[in-house]
Symmetry: C2
Subunit: 362 residues, 2 copies
Amino acid sequence: MTSKEGFRSALKVNPGVEQPPTINSNIASRLKSKKRKLLDPDQYAQGIFNRDISVLSQAITLIESSLPSHHELGQKVIEKCLPHTGKSIRIGITGVPGVGKSTFIEALGGAITQAGGRLAVLAIDPSSERSKGSILGDKTRMETLCNDPNAFIRPSPSAGSLGGVARKTRETIILCEAAGFDTIFIETVGVGQSETAVHSMVDFFLLLMLAGAGDELQGIKRGIMEMADLIAITKADGQNVNKAKSARVQYESALHLFPMPESGWLPRAKTCSSVTKEGINEVWEQILEYVEFTKQSSFFQKRRLEQAKYWMFQTITESLKDDLFHNPQVKALIKATEQDVLADRISSFAAAKRILDFYKSI
Amino acid sequence: MTSKEGFRSALKVNPGVEQPPTINSNIASRLKSKKRKLLDPDQYAQGIFNRDISVLSQAITLIESSLPSHHELGQKVIEKCLPHTGKSIRIGITGVPGVGKSTFIEALGGAITQAGGRLAVLAIDPSSERSKGSILGDKTRMETLCNDPNAFIRPSPSAGSLGGVARKTRETIILCEAAGFDTIFIETVGVGQSETAVHSMVDFFLLLMLAGAGDELQGIKRGIMEMADLIAITKADGQNVNKAKSARVQYESALHLFPMPESGWLPRAKTCSSVTKEGINEVWEQILEYVEFTKQSSFFQKRRLEQAKYWMFQTITESLKDDLFHNPQVKALIKATEQDVLADRISSFAAAKRILDFYKSI
């Protein structure tokens, strides 16, 4: 199979995507004016439904804003968009720096848009983890995709905790889906805390690995491999082909030793090259096969509903924690109590009680 | 190496264990009276330091009690014990029903006590998970160890959430260590939510596996394998030996593919038989080697301190969550809001905000 023949678009799996884009020139011109005025929720929603990228970007900026008025407006836009969402395939892509993630996303993404798909590429790593190698801090590394009219690339929000970034990314997915993107990539660097968050907002989790790299080089966090629905061994070209093939066999037999995931899908390992494009189609086929398989078993929809509930509960918990742990008085007490715990003067549980009692008293 | 020759006691690694036990007959006789009176914290502590098993059991019962006055007394005992703790090796042992966990614990535990060690066997699974096969619900399956004066077996607390059971188990470790037990086993069934909790309170995590059992039979949860410091393939005897040996090779090569854990210790796989006792010593040698290795690198102590902090923060978070999620009015609103989320009428984040705003208003 060559890189174009037989490449199925996600559209075949998701027939619910709307009409081709028509730019709402009225809105577009307003957005171009230097003193950019805010639109009302209906105007944002209409612009998004019309696949107006400028309006989409503006709406995402609202979601990312720390201004309460922007945030509130953003939530109204999301509510209008919600009934038009859920039709894409959401794919998490992780891999450490050096694995060739940006070229892989260019190769797979290019194939998707050439087959008629519309792709949004988002990132989730908070700024603290970004320096470790998230590609989307550096959009220039995906030049072809950046200039592709059927691709939309949005870097990770520039600040905030993982919880905050995760919220923004998940809400951005909603807006992108309402704007007719049928495939969403969510990129993460695989060395931090973000992978669990990504795993909780995607349908498919793709792990990129290098062949023959030592443990130090791989550097990926423990536990991530068991999340993967597919391991793609990158850079399987030139002198590297045999090494990649033997790595594939090794990883695949390792994956067989893992307990079967709830999806009932046995994760596989494939090789691919972003240079020769060999194997790129196979990765995509695996994703489509997974989607078909899990849609037939209803696991796909079940998982989405579980994720929606998960994020509701997760947000509540994070907010409760923030409230306590960011209180300056509580912070001071925690610091002192922590020392008592570390010196074995008090048990972890008595320490917790001391802090909770104080928090409730203020 | 036979089962006795060369069996090193944990005592060699932990030279801080105190004098041989002397029963405080005064306290012991008081405990034997039918109308059992509570002691004062100093009496409990003294009894525990004297390795009086009756007093130890009484103190654990205080910790497990739901009566606030008992709980408070228990905390005072713990504070007195804390300076005398931390000298044991804490070992998590997990494996699904059928893996031969009780006979394994009998074999390894017997070897430890015969070599002069003192062993406490605790369990962590809350009652809801117990029925799935926790051995300690059925003490009779470890008859030899039950009658061993150097072994102390305490079943899992009979009721409560995982958070509650985890607290009780962790506090029981403190009391057992103060009573001179130099090796602590914490047993869990490997099919529920308890493994992360166990992993966060032990120095070494041992996973028992069967050779050649299918995925269904293994039934173990994803993610557990990556927590293991050692995989022991049980029932490597009779006709099963070759199958076990080939499973060992498979698991060991799979373990090599995992990212290196923070400890710097590359997890291994071993075979053993609780019937012939073959391999039991090797499992113990692995544990002692791990302890020596991580003590030299200071990882051992670093991890213990991290765990103490972890449980402080974990307890605070759990308490905040309980307060909100167990409120009847909030519960009703969550139920209704959940439906809005599932029907795409509201985003997960707006739903969370609605619930939080209501919670803060009551």
